[in-house]
């Protein structure tokens, strides 16, 4: 029998041989105090001589305390999306634990055990991959833990294992013997780790938590009483706070600084210069900020980017007049467009967007003689370890990351260049102080630091034949690459960044289709993934233009889409479900309109119907959004619903009022008065319908976002007859 009794050297071989088996690992806390901390019983290590030597290396996903608390060690950071609860659900279910005994904690940074298979084994969270990556792995870990607990009970009681059952955290035998997990933990650690073949994972009918409604979030208590620990809340002995003056323009650098006034401020301990920033270190935030504001800095702007957004957009529009890099070609689009009985053209433009998570970016760093300790809402641990180790000329393993809750991210904390992490480490290094340093960006620093959702321009043409059939679609996109120049550049194959065009013109069956891309390379405004990445713009252009083509064909938007989705059953199912639940086709009073959009992203399928009211003064409200989602098996239906509702709110926020613009290179927005997130009164009623499914789980963090803006724009068209070609929509219909 193939077992997983393999040494750690064989880890990746196992992963390659048995998908999902990479990280089965269970370790146990000794149940009496005199025992040294236990080495985890990872694959093949249970009962080995090393075990008793007591290395404390948490190579595992489950730890059981003597009081029966089950700690689930989660490799996917928690930024609100519910990863801790989701992963805990998988383990608790297969273990048959009681939900009340479950706690979740962040794993250490170590890709060899906590790699994300969707990221080629790098440790990181993003792309709505957590559940897809962990669904099988974590169920196996939970089942292995249960197997070993049952084995321990069988040995202790001298009874056959197959007569022993587990329910709600109690191991029992019909003879009346019972034990809690904590009572068996020490004996269980001496049990051999089972092979994958020995594990009998549950069938869906046996699930007790997976797919069941409303488990309480494992991270909730600290988040309602103020005790949850975010980076901002880290307090360490002798810690200093660093507040930073950044160069005001992208590409500008430091010429000189006069820090006399800053150093005179009480509490200021040091001023540190970097090539494009100056940091003031003080005993508290307020002193550091006062110091930062008192710096007299001269910037060298000779190489700075000094464009205006309107000019940049005009240059994109100009680029879109010529053919770009071909990314999709089906049939003969040029000929089909030339032969079309009806030809429709439209251009769409999208601004830069900031992530603007509630917790402004920050990072706590302590450089010691052993390496570098970091505390923050780490999202791409392996990349951050590599970048920091390179800077400090130490080994990646010496970069010890303590992953904390992130006060939102929406992609920003997973910076592929480790921008804010490296800035904190550079400050600490340059300060030459051997104390912990908490770098804190103000809201303005966060808003103006770049790494935006890229500005994009789309130019579309489509043609109908004389029978009103959609025969040709051409979509030309212009926008910066997110991947180019980053460690993710390996994903650029065929000469273009796939996330620039993901979703464009998809998935409709059109016999002649052409998608082309221009990627401007001379713009130093840093860009980054922003919740749902390329779909943030491709879904809008595609779904708005599809609506326009339906109108040109004289067909109902849902009916028109159905005709083009015959080979896309999962799209079709959510489209039909959302339409049905929203009462598509029923009469609406004057001034109201309904619009629909359907988008696949991150292997999940979402359709949304938005209902708007346009008032006499031209302003409008989004009253209701009916959403249908197929994300495979919904592990936590309440978490799925929360992500869908939150995705709608996040997308509506951007669609209504968010944009980052440059004037002479300067970012014009700075805080929430001029970069205006959605507020409670603007939140529509959101109704979520989950398609029942036994497919493997796919993402939910991002897929709620893309269909919202086009659904709203299409609803505005239904109400006013006016198409919207530019985001944000603003307050007027």
């Amino acid at each position: 029998m193939e077992t997983i009794n393999l040494s750690r050297r064989h880890f990746f071989k196992v992963a390659a041989a048995v998908a999902g088996s990479l990280t089965l690992g269970v370790y146990w806390t000794a149940s009496h105090a005199e025992t040294a901390p236990q080495k985890p019983a990872g694959p093949g290590e249970a009962g080995s001589p090393e075990l008793k030597q007591g290395l404390a290396d948490p190579q595992a996903f489950i730890r059981i305390d003597p009081d029966s608390t089950v700690h689930v060690i989660v490799k996917h950071m928690e930024m609100g999306q519910g990863s801790h609860t989701g992963i805990a659900t998988l383990i608790a279910d297969e273990m048959d634990a009681d939900w009340a005994q479950i706690r979740a904690e962040n794993s250490p940074a170590d890709a060899s055990r906590y790699g994300n298979m969707a990221f080629g084994g790098m440790q990181g969270t993003g792309g709505s991959t957590s559940m897809a990556n962990s669904y099988l792995q974590m169920r196996q870990a939970g089942a292995a833990a249960k197997f070993m607990l049952v084995g321990a009970a069988a040995t202790l009681w001298n009874l056959p294992a197959n007569e022993i059952t587990v329910k709600a955290g109690i191991v029992s035998h019909p003879s009346g013997k019972t034990a809690k997990f904590g009572e068996l933990a020490e004996a269980a650690q001496k049990q051999p780790v089972p092979s994958i073949e020995q594990l009998k994972l549950k069938t869906p009918e046996q699930f007790i938590y997976i797919g069941k409604p409303a488990l309480q979030r494992v991270d909730i208590m600290g988040k309602v009483n103020g005790t949850a620990q975010f980076t901002q809340d880290v307090q360490l002995p002798d810690m200093l706070t660093a507040v930073v003056a950044h160069a005001p323009l992208f590409g500008a650098s430091l010429a000189s600084v006069d820090d006399t006034a800053a150093k005179a401020i009480k509490g200021v301990k040091a001023v540190v210069s970097l090539p494009n920033a100056v940091a003031v270190l003080a005993s508290d935030f307020w002193s550091a900020k006062q110091g930062r504001d008192a710096l007299k800095i001269t910037w060298d702007e000779s190489k700075a980017y000094k464009a205006n957004s309107a000019d940049q957009l005009a240059s994109y529009q100009k680029m879109a007049e010529t053919a770009g890099k071909e990314t999709t070609k089906i049939g003969n689009p040029a000929e089909a467009l030339a032969s079309a009985a009806t030809l429709v053209k439209a251009n769409y433009s999208f601004p830069y967007l900031a992530h603007a998570a509630m917790e402004p970016l920050n990072c706590v760093v302590h450089i010691t003689d052993k390496g570098c300790e970091l505390w923050y809402g780490a999202q791409l641990q392996t990349i951050d370890q590599a970048k920091v180790s390179e800077l400090l000329k130490i080994e990646p393993a010496q970069v010890n990351i303590h992953t904390l809750y992130a006060g939102g991210s929406f992609g920003r904390r997973g910076n592929p260049m480790s921008d804010y992490v490296l800035e904190a480490v550079k400050i600490a290094k340059a300060s030459n102080l051997s104390v912990p340093i908490k770098m804190v960006w103000t809201r303005e620093d966060d808003m103006r630091a770049g790494h935006y959702r890229p500005m994009f321009f789309h130019s579309l043409q489509a043609g109908l034949d004389k029978d009103k059939q959609l025969i040709a679609w051409q979509q030309r996109l212009v926008g910066q690459s997110i991947m180019a120049g980053t460690p993710m550049a390996m994903m650029i194959t065929d000469g273009y960044d796939p996330v620039s065009v993901e979703g464009a013109g998809e998935p409709y069956a059109i016999p002649n289709k052409l998608v082309e891309l221009h990627t401007p390379e001379d713009i130093p405004v840093p860009v980054q993934w922003w919740r749902s990445v390329g779909h943030t713009h491709t879904a809008y252009a595609t779904e708005c233009f599809m609506d326009e083509m339906a109108k040109a064909a004289g067909k109902d938007p849902v009916e028109f889409r159905r005709g083009l989705l015959k080979d896309s059953p999962r799209h079709l199912a959510v489209l039909n479900l959302a339409a049905e639940k929203a009462g598509w086709g029923s009469e609406l009073p004057k001034g109201k309109g309904r619009g629909i959009a359907v988008v696949e992203s991150f292997n999940s399928y979402v359709a949304e119907v938005a209902e708007v009211t346009v008032k006499e003064d031209g302003s409008f409200t989004v009253d209701k959004v009916v959403l249908a989602v197929d994300c495979g098996l919904a592990v936590n239906p309440s978490m799925v619903e929360a992500q869908m509702v939150g995705g709608v709110g996040f997308a509506l926020s951007a669609a209504l009022g968010e944009k980052i613009t440059l004037k002479n290179g300067q970012v014009e927005q700075s805080n929430f008065h001029d970069y205006t997130p959605l507020r409670i009164g603007q939140m529509p009623v959101v109704e979520v319908h989950i398609v029942p499914s036994q497919e493997n789980p796919s993402g939910v963090g991002e897929p709620g976002v893309p269909p919202l803006a086009p659904a709203v724009a299409n609803a505005l068209f239904a109400a006013t007859g006016k198409r919207r070609y530019e985001l944000p929509l603003g307050t007027k219909a």
Binding site: A214, E359, V440, G649, L678
Partner: protein, 152 residues
């Protein structure tokens, strides 16, 4: 400077113009009150001054000497309204990232103190100063109404 925080007098060495937020976080080590914007735009720093909701990030400490300052830590212990709200928050799985939630609960506490049976419009109006980027607004509204019902 002496500040009355959560019913306790605290002697703290503070510049008079320091915003209360930083006195609470960096000097009194009460970190439940969050920094979000620094200009009273987002509500993450909401506390109560003599029972009224206030944004600690723009409240100089000199202006609150001798006044009763309540943070999420104090309200969690002492306020029945806060506790009812927290129970409703738990029942509705309200938080996502959680960073704004202390401020949301402190604002909601002030709302239900003034208007124990707040209507949808009153909730929208009073809570409009509290941003949630995760957009948990729908469940915040549900939870406030549930808490109000449980207190009635």
């Amino acid at each position: 400077m002496k500040l009355m925080i959560n019913g306790q007098e605290r002697e703290l060495d503070l510049a008079p113009d320091m915003p209360l937020l930083w006195a609470l976080r960096d000097h009194a080590h009460l970190t439940g009150t969050k920094f979000g914007c620094g200009m009273a735009q987002c509500g993450a720093c909401t506390v109560h001054i003599d029972g009224q909701a206030a944004r600690a990030c723009v409240t100089p400490v000199a202006s609150v000497e001798g006044k009763a300052i309540t943070t999420i830590e104090g309200a969690s212990k002492d306020s029945k309204i806060t506790q009812a709200l927290q129970a409703a928050w738990l029942a509705n799985n309200v938080p996502q990232c959680g960073y704004c939630q202390s401020g949301q609960i402190m604002s909601a506490t002030a709302l239900l103190t003034q208007k124990p049976q707040a209507t949808d419009e009153e909730i929208n109006s009073f809570m409009s100063g509290n941003i949630c980027r995760c957009a948990t607004y729908q469940s915040i509204k549900t939870a406030i109404k549930q808490a109000a019902a449980s207190l009635a």
